[in-house]
Subunit: 249 residues, 2 copies
Amino acid sequence: MLAQDEEMMFTDARIDSIMYQVTFNPKTREGDIIANLSLVDKKDLDETLEIFRQVMYSGLSVCSYVKLFDEGDIFSGLTIPAGKAGITTVCSITIDGVLLKSGIPAKPIFGGIVQVKDRVPVRFTDSIRYECTTIDPLEVLMSQDLTSVREMMRTGSGKILANLREVPMAAKDDVDRTINRLLTAGFYGILEVGEPNSPVLGADVSRDHMGIIITGGTNPMCAAQEAGIPIITKAIKGVLDFHEMKKLA
Amino acid sequence: MLAQDEEMMFTDARIDSIMYQVTFNPKTREGDIIANLSLVDKKDLDETLEIFRQVMYSGLSVCSYVKLFDEGDIFSGLTIPAGKAGITTVCSITIDGVLLKSGIPAKPIFGGIVQVKDRVPVRFTDSIRYECTTIDPLEVLMSQDLTSVREMMRTGSGKILANLREVPMAAKDDVDRTINRLLTAGFYGILEVGEPNSPVLGADVSRDHMGIIITGGTNPMCAAQEAGIPIITKAIKGVLDFHEMKKLA
């Protein structure tokens, strides 16, 4: 939400600004990543982290690193309220930042919901384009009871959050190299890399581009919510030194 | 959500199709309107209707008419589940349909959140454009705890749902006439009619057009949710004969 004198800022502009702040280098595993922040009641923290661990172990997150914040701590201008614990996780837009800092013009297009059947992602069933919304799509979609992350983990079929970005097909080799480095660094959340000039999971891609689909960094939060834990999530909240994060799964 | 073989349909296309089905004539008060459907537990029905009545009485809805559905009843392909009651209310896109059927090309642009101060609408604080989302903006925004409809009713200041459409400025007289007819027919939800070529509540309008802001038909559902009543809402669910609806407030 906006302060009294702020103007409406569309998510693509917000993403542009924060991608620019990413300094994470997958080769050295050093630098700043973009983090989502979730708030839960302190009494729910252990149960929440166990769910996060399971979701991350299933590969339905960007990577398995978290940093915890206690009440009174401040992350990116937000003070963790009394009685609450803050959990930061890596936001998928971090990967766009890494591509950008490798010289590849990655353009996040939309956030949406991907239907998975027998562990194979089938297609997008819903989407909201970043350039047309002031609120992060993965933040609004997670509160809509449209996901079934826990069912997906249990049965192999369900609906998860993911987002699409486009890169120029001319950058294909560089993209493959960067993605491999990210995989080696423990960033397993790349769901699908499309062929040049071809739709990915039913989503159209601009001419001379290819689409890359990454699992939403907010899938663990969906699973916690599906389990009945009250959780508030601010997607794309701020940047964080990767060194301060710990592996959870 | 989509069936297995359905394609993603953006909300503006869905709106186009359903606007076309509006036959409501404000002069005769006859014909079909577009309805939102909400589901609540039967035990919560009376309390929910009392909240709806208050919101409608405060003018924070399109009009004050509802139609109730019992468990087992079917509305627009959806069977009301056991233990639930269905409440249909008039969707603000009805007004676009009425403008269309008066020969005015009304184009719904976005749904968003309007900040109100001392009973005066100040500006949009958030928005999602219809052409870029497969899920209705007012449906996703109402579940985001971004609204404060009850506070607005109590104190005169708060955040409510509203949406913006554009009409050509050449149609100004016809628009004024149609809106007056709608007001006479009990459709009080018109929040603001902008000047030609001027922003309305901080939102830009296309050249040679004027903006019309209408309160969200889902504000009563926001208020119920804010009061802690579990409520599921499907915005723009189907069409309904206005004669079947009853005045609530």
